[in-house]
Amino acid sequence: MANLLYCEFLKLKRSKMFLISFFGALVAPIFMLANHIGAHFRRPDVIFNMASFYDDTLMFTLLLIGPIVYVVVVAYLFSREYTENTLKTILTIPIKKTTFIISKFAMLFVWLIFLSLISWVGTSIFSVIFHAVFGLSEIGAAVAFDYLVRFMLGGMFMFFVVTPFAFLAVWTKGFVVPLIAAAVVMTGNMMLMNTNFNAIYPWTIPAHFVLSNEILHPPVYPYPIMIGSIAIVSALGFISSVVLFHSEDVN
């Protein structure tokens, strides 16, 4: 498994997708910065705090940008062996199909955590710049560290809720269907984030756990139901991907 994971890293050399996802992870911090600059000029008397910077980035990441950027990563990881025709080369080594697809999930987890880290670093840098130019309140290492944990948690939650897209990538062997589904999910996020359903719609639930203020409509369902909803979607995505990949012939 460690060997497979190491090889997944080797495969990323000169990969444009790595750079694309890197800049994708910075889109939310840039949106957040633009949002705050706009708000500052509308209301120069209001002093923002550092937490609001992190919260805005997290909200953009989890509800709007994430479903697209993270699903692009999922689709790339899980469909590239089909598009580059490499499965027949790798599996005949031999590599067990189950081990191979689990290593893909492991790589996905590492990649999404890395992207969360990039978003956190970007937000931290932008907040320092904003503080230097316009001024911010409650800025400090303790806030930054608190949100580092929240960003990592957000990345972890996103890993769990994007597994169904892995199934779509394995099933359709390409990018298109997972991306269409991601757009649907993102639209769902926008429609449901301020309704009671945001506590059972799996893709809005992570925001409840990592956002500090009440950006979302407060959850009306208990936490076990919210966790259960994520667990069901995640398990379905994971199990169906493994079963499909294992049972399909390699053509």
Binding site: K11, R14, K16, T86
Partner: protein, 307 residues
């Protein structure tokens, strides 16, 4: 005990209601080169995919090195190198980097195995070129390098010379022959280039519509190949009549409106020619020839040439 590196018993693969491969019984002897011939869609690639455990058979048995292929897969498949149709590698990596991934996953056989394999196929100087910039021939060479890198005991090669130039084909053929003769590697190869197969293989299997219609040793096949005299004449019916009446020859075939092949009385071709001319037939060509693999193949599967 039979010493077959590959043996299949009743191997069958159905796609929906259709048979891709039906009741296949292959016998690939150790340290020999076995050529699998067949038209497009005959089932060659499906067979190879089943042997490599990429496609699940609907029924039947596959024995590799005498053992069921599902047992000790790790041990069995490490002794096999393969190319299935076009080579599949990561486009953003160089040839060396692609092979490094395979070596890493397999557990490197020798320290210099990657460089050695690249040298064998003539790609050792292309150190900076990434795979997506390779020509078709270079891609195929890298596929061969990947297949031989770990010095396998069995090579399964599906159309390995696709895309290679004539010099490349000659080099690879020489290399495969030396692998088999000097190192004792068993090679199971399919190709559409009949002339190449003819020069390479020890045993030949012919597939047609998913079935193995013949499995024969090349030595036997060569013995079976017969000489004939081909006449191009103005009227084949008259020529056939003259052959039967004047020379008592019945072993001939009429190929088309003007060509007749005579398998008997080769040494009497001068007399036959004189006879044709004296009976007002215009003879434009007379030449002695030998049945080639292509003729044998066409006869076997009942068609003109292979796809």
């Amino acid at each position: 005990m039979n010493d077959y590196v590959i043996e299949t018993i009743g191997l069958t693969k159905q796609f929906g209601g259709q048979f891709g491969v039906s009741n296949l019984g292959l016998h690939v002897p150790r340290e020999k080169i076995y050529g699998l011939l067949g038209r497009n869609g005959a089932g060659k690639t499906t067979t190879m995919r089943m042997l490599l455990n990429l496609v699940r058979p609907t029924s039947g048995t596959i024995l590799l090195f005498g053992d069921d292929y599902r047992k000790q897969q790790d041990k069995i498949y490490r002794k096999i190198g393969s190319i299935i149709e076009t080579s599949g590698f990561y486009g953003n990596l160089t040839g060396y980097e692609n092979l490094k991934i395979l070596a890493q996953l397999r557990g490197q056989h020798r320290k210099d195995s990657i460089n050695h394999a690249l040298e064998v196929v003539g790609l050792h100087s292309e150190t900076k070129k990434i795979f997506s910039k390779y020509s078709l021939g270079m891609k195929q060479r890298l596929g061969i390098a990947a297949a031989i890198m770990h010095e396998p005991e069995l090579l399964i090669l599906d159309e390995p010379i696709n895309g290679l130039d004539p010099i490349g084909i000659h080099e690879i053929r020489k290399f495969l022959l030396s692998l088999c003769r000097e190192r004792g590697t068993t090679i199971f190869i399919s190709s559409h280039v009949l002339s190449e197969i003819e020069l390479l293989v020890d045993v030949i299997g012919v597939m047609h519509e998913g079935q193995l219609v013949e499995e024969v040793d090349m030595t036997q096949l060569r013995k079976r190949s017969r000489q004939y005299v081909e006449y191009a004449v103005s009227a084949v019916n008259t020529a056939a009549l003259l052959l039967e009446r004047q020379f008592n020859i019945s072993d001939y075939t009429v190929c088309d409106d003007s060509i007749i092949r005579v398998y008997d009385c080769i040494d009497k071709r001068g007399d036959i020619n004189k006879c044709f001319v004296s009976h007002d037939l215009t003879v434009t060509t007379v030449h002695v020839s030998e049945e080639k693999l292509e003729d044998y193949f066409s006869g076997l599967i009942g068609g003109g040439g292979i796809g």
